[in-house]
């Protein structure tokens, strides 16, 4: 167990609650679960994945009041700001869900070639993605890193914000009680510095999102990137350089880069015939 501290009404640093402290073995088991879920999730039609993600947003909406209270306590926001943040998180989720059956049109292409061939580039998911969730934004940031990974058919292992894990626990309940297949999202609460190196060096993880390494205590994201490079992972760096890395502004329009970072473009040649 490790303690989540309160930043809300009782003042910064006060005890808020205990959450499970995940270890490297939880990460190991999570990777196995994510790998097992991979073929089913990637094999589902894009439309179906979109419907599943919309349903997650509906369940989030149903628990919006609880989420708002938790975000308020975790991040020290006023009730009104917290409610706005939760609404933004749900909107973000819906926005990404809409991309499920549109990504291929935007990032794929029918390429013009000098020959009697169709030449088609189409995106496919990278596989199992490790996600270090942002440390500051406990819900909006969290949904903004999970949704773009899974919308395209990846599965993920997520280390929740170390000091603000409680909204993540509720989000995990929401995943479990919506239609999301088991193993697609695996949320671990615990110390980022303890678990992240195991995921970065894990040879059965295909990509890693280092967003949450930016201002996590005791985490050197450069070292994580080096460990990931050793086994040819795709790496999404945090915003900013070196020690100046910072958490992005989650209220800004997200763009496509979080989705395209975890896609492989495959190109096929097909003869044109009559």
């Amino acid at each position: 167990m490790h303690a989540a501290s309160r930043r809300g009404s009782a003042g910064p640093g006060a005890f808020l609650g205990n959450v499970a402290q995940g270890s490297r073995k939880d990460a190991r088991d999570a990777v196995v679960a994510a790998r097992a879920a991979g073929s089913g999730w990637a094999g589902a039609t894009a439309y179906n994945r979109g419907q599943v993600l919309y349903r997650v947003a509906e369940v989030m909406q149903g628990r919006a009041a609880q989420l708002a209270a938790e975000v308020a306590e975790a991040e020290g926001l006023s009730a009104a700001r917290a409610a706005t943040t939760v609404a933004a998180a749900i909107d973000r989720w819906v926005w990404y869900a809409g991309w499920s059956d549109k990504l291929a049109q935007v990032v794929g292409n029918l390429n013009p070639v000098a020959g009697p061939y169709f030449n088609i580039s189409a995106p496919s998911p990278t596989g199992v993605v490790a996600v270090l969730a942002p440390q500051g934004s406990s819900l909006l940031g969290l949904t903004s890193v999970i949704a773009p990974v899974i919308v395209s058919g990846n599965t993920c292992v997520v280390i929740a914000s170390q000091d603000r894990p409680i909204p993540a626990v509720t989000l995990a309940e929401i995943f479990a009680t919506s239609d999301l297949p088991g193993g697609v999202v695996n949320l671990i609460t615990g110390r980022t510095a303890e678990i992240a190196p195991w995921l970065a060096s894990h040879r059965d993880v295909n990509a890693i999102d280092l967003t949450g390494a930016a201002d996590a205590t005791g985490v050197d994201w450069g070292a994580l990137e080096a460990a990931a490079a050793d086994n040819l992972k795709r790496v999404l760096r945090p915003e900013g350089d070196g020690p100046a890395a910072r958490e992005p502004d989650w209220t800004a329009p997200p763009g496509l880069h979080r989705m395209t970072a975890f896609l492989e473009i495959k190109t096929v040649w097909h003869p044109k015939g009559r």
């Binding site: 190991r28 790998r35 195991w198 060096s201 894990h202 040879r203 059965d204 993880v205 460990a227 086994n231």
Partner: protein, 318 residues
Amino acid sequence: MARDLLGVSRLSDPVLRRWLHGLPGVDQVGAEARVAGLGTRSIKTTAKAFAIDLAISMIDLTTLEGADTPGKVRSLCAKALVPDPTDPTTPRPAAVCVYGDLAATARKALGDSLIHVAAVATAFPSGRASMPVKLADTRDAVEGGADEIDMVIDRGAFLAGRYLQVFDEIVAVKAACARPDGTAAHLKVILETGELATYDAVRRASYLAMLAGADFIKTSTGKIAPAATLPVTLVMLEAVRDWRELTGTQIGVKPAGGIRTTKDAMKYLVMVNEIAGPDWLTPDWFRFGASGLLGDLLLQRQKLATGAYSGPDYVTID
């Protein structure tokens, strides 16, 4: 020898029944509790490295599918010769286990490496064929170059109490394992414990097989669920331990089927050491019948060597 042991001039069903049913009954709850207790042992670091290498060297790398081809067997043999191309210190498995008609293919692929060729025979897996067919099946595999023969007992006869028939069949197959040069292939007797229903029956089948001259007793064909389980293997390990006390002859044990992970394998090794004793902790006296197990052992071996979790992309597929 069997007659001396039983103190009779002629073996018959009643004689064998008296002897086998005179064996002490197995305490089912006790056996399962003992297994559960031994399963909690924590094996880490150097002990884990030792156990992984030992388990790899004990594997009978197996492919027993109707769809097997010479190519599939050759690729399995290549895997046995070089289990992990990234690490030449990886030990090789003990044997490659195939159907009899593919024994020659395996023999050729394994060359003069010390890896044995094991072949299943006697109308595996059901054992439903007449004796001449079973013996021809056995001789064919031995001629094909099999060093070890895995035979199945006639479970129908055993469960009906026709113990002499089962005994005679094992004796006859053992004789068929002989080569013209006077040597003989090792005989493993598959009890198919998944069909024997009780631990008492497993104990009786173990003693009957050992009495008839088995070199190894093996739990299962892998075609029937449940295949190898820890309590069944415990009963068989007790049997071989007590048999050596009784006769001075050491018999090997081979659990087969359903052993897929390093954790499973280590539980078996702990049990071998604690029940039968360290004398059995070698590939000569204990084997795992498995195919997927090797992959998981290699992943764990790579994890110990590199410090990073490995993945299925880093081991060869069958």
